[in-house]
Symmetry: C2
Subunit: 510 residues, 2 copies
Amino acid sequence: MARMAEVLKLVYFIFINFLLLPSSSDGNQRPNFIVMLMDDMGWGDLGVFGEPNKETPNLDRMATDGMLFPDFYSANPICSPSRASLMSGRLPIRNGFYTTNVHAHDAYTPQNIVGGIPENETLIPELLKEVGYKSKIIGKWHLGQQPQFHPLKHGFDEWFGAPNCHFGPYDDKSTPNILYYEEFQIKAGYSNLTQIYIQEGLDFIEKEVANGNPFFLYWTPDATHDPLYASEMFRGTSRRGLYGDAVRELDYGVGQILQKLKDLHVDNNTLVFFSSDNGAATYAKTAGGSNGPFLCGKQTTYEGGSREPTIAWWPGRVKAGQVSHQVGSLMDLYTTMASLSGVAVPKDRVIDGIDLTNVLLTNKEEERPLFYYRGNELMAVRLGKYKAHLWTYTNPLKEFEQGIDFCPGQFIQNLTTHDQVNHTLSPLLIHLARDPGEKYIIKSHTVEYKTAMPRLQAAVAAHRAKLVPGAPQLNWCDRAVMNWAPPGCEKLGKCLKGPQSKPFKCVWPH
Amino acid sequence: MARMAEVLKLVYFIFINFLLLPSSSDGNQRPNFIVMLMDDMGWGDLGVFGEPNKETPNLDRMATDGMLFPDFYSANPICSPSRASLMSGRLPIRNGFYTTNVHAHDAYTPQNIVGGIPENETLIPELLKEVGYKSKIIGKWHLGQQPQFHPLKHGFDEWFGAPNCHFGPYDDKSTPNILYYEEFQIKAGYSNLTQIYIQEGLDFIEKEVANGNPFFLYWTPDATHDPLYASEMFRGTSRRGLYGDAVRELDYGVGQILQKLKDLHVDNNTLVFFSSDNGAATYAKTAGGSNGPFLCGKQTTYEGGSREPTIAWWPGRVKAGQVSHQVGSLMDLYTTMASLSGVAVPKDRVIDGIDLTNVLLTNKEEERPLFYYRGNELMAVRLGKYKAHLWTYTNPLKEFEQGIDFCPGQFIQNLTTHDQVNHTLSPLLIHLARDPGEKYIIKSHTVEYKTAMPRLQAAVAAHRAKLVPGAPQLNWCDRAVMNWAPPGCEKLGKCLKGPQSKPFKCVWPH
């Protein structure tokens, strides 16, 4: 009987372990997470998504060895709100990354922004810390310039990178960017920064694997954001020019990181996501990326604005060579990482991200509405294969006439409008599977429209009924909050004296 | 010494065989060829080329196992001339598949066309016959309606399919299409025809392998050409609608054929090309295919008109997983098949196709100019990554205003013109690698323009200097030449009496 009890205990132990895996109390069982978030890279920039120059062999192989998500989105078509949503699992309208200064305008966190990620948002590294993860961000943060908004105050254990984009001026004393940027200048498209970001990533992985900690690496280089750059090893190697050089170097970095996981034998215990923060900056013309067959780009709520080149990779757990048409969002990474690490998401607020565990492990699809916001306005909604535009807007005609074109070479009557047009009473319906380019608006008298639209409108109504907007963080600017005297400046004799505080309403042109 | 002589003889034999392979006199050594030519399928219709619904698993695998050609073209943006060029290895302006009725207009072979493939063109099956190949065409021919232009008169041993597209009316006695079409009607998008074409292909392969003949299969189904169709097994299975159903069924057929080659252990001795005859018919809106990121479509000389989704597959000979940026043309298949089968191409005429053997076997690239013709006019030229538009033209404004749009949702100032605009004195320059969508015309005062343009112009001058246009075949129509009394009609009591011959100049609207 004693022996029987032993056996039962063993069985019970195994059973419990099975049930709890991977949320077992054994730290080694929890999967590591790597989120590789690109900057302004478009859906169409990867070979596997049809970029004609086919210059991303590592990403293409990552897709072959993992799961490709052609229907994956960022929560916003511009950087800061998109990143805030990824980190918080919540739409910008909830976490405050929007402006009410002007209707339906894109806002972000420039150097003089007063706001940032609110203290009461629980970011993913904070959740993961509860169950023993070590987290590091490498690259661009963009959730606020002031110190209280920085990564180490919001759950990250380490940070190598910049609060903002990595751009100049590097020594402009009237508009100081982060100190030490001058150590990493970009000159004529040359910079070694991506190589440094790659090495930082490899070092962090090695260290945490050696320490036996589960880890979360948020690898977010910015070489594909203006100002573009690449190292000497890659500069001039692309068929596409400097933008392509940057893509090639990032692709190389992806390959290096995946190889490191294999070399350290943690590939089977590491879920890697690759994606981008918003659509390619089409207004940058050939200095920007490609959104493939999609309409317009960054800053807009057409597909080009937020459809992202997304791949999940987890050898042994995510079956190789799969495609999932799950309508996904970067916010889902929040919920999915929480789920897989066995930590509960906050119950006191709406979390917009859904748990993709079943999608990843069994390729099941879950229907969910997707909301396309621009600033404070819900512009469009997707449910299943249908998308309804409630509002249409590209950029002001005046701007457009000065050459700032969000949709170069593209024009769809009634859809790519330069005025903000309210279609709420009769939204413009698109079937995204047979018309990914949003070229053919389905007429409102058709049976198809009358069948599809009520479901989309019900999704909007349900969303609006529950919506409690967060306090807008991107309304106020103030030159006094800029980085005049960053930590360590005394030692270097580089502290500057900032102006008196004089808050003003930020100006958001688009 | 006698033994030494034996050894030397053996070495010599091996050496000779090595040198001559695969053009050895042993029929079994010559590779089989399969050309799978789709109808109006676009570059962007394959998953591997970025179609967001990713519904072509067999073609995507074919690319993974073979060589992908993102820079491959048909010789013309419309069906008949494109197919005549593939078969003859020569541009339509040489083989006569153009019209002089009107400047720079697309022409083809409707039911009342008088002309067809000239007797003095030596088609690829005629060449292959010289070295023992058996050739079969399955599907659409489109090189002339009259019996003297049909496949069996031009080198093919077998033909299953239609001289024209497979379309109705099926029982219109005033405009008879080919007899027996009524046996294969398309009703509400349903037809079993692709399944029959697949089975015909499998049967032919089996038979010729059993007979020990080298074979050439020209498999050219038309399910993606209006009227679209799919069998019950595929109808309604695509996320994209009927067009996608047709693509899925063709993709299935590709898989069946490649599997058959493996099952019969001839995969290592069979070179398979997959491509399409011209760009997707963008004017058909969601009933047409996708040209991915490219401009406009079928009938035009923008990239969408003739950039084709091309894959080469030859296990053991063409290394798996390669991408070639060789600027290729369907005309090259002529020269390549001739070369690989050890037969000389005609020496008494200009052959425009180049031999891709080195590209296939060693992934070398060869610079060559590519000429974009529309009817009798050279509209554009590509050399390396640059393309120069000498003429621009979409379709007449009147037509466009009636809703016939060759470039839906796309508009590029000065480039997508509705008038025929002559830019010969200062051609419009595009860098196709960084600007595949032809959105950004390079200004003529730039260094880049001044460096690139002379080479393009030299290529044009050299081409023009050698050009002797063939007699235009697509000028005259006559209702008397239609298929009133096809062979066998007496037996079935279905002979019709045609009208008196009354030739008239064909009308080509675009």
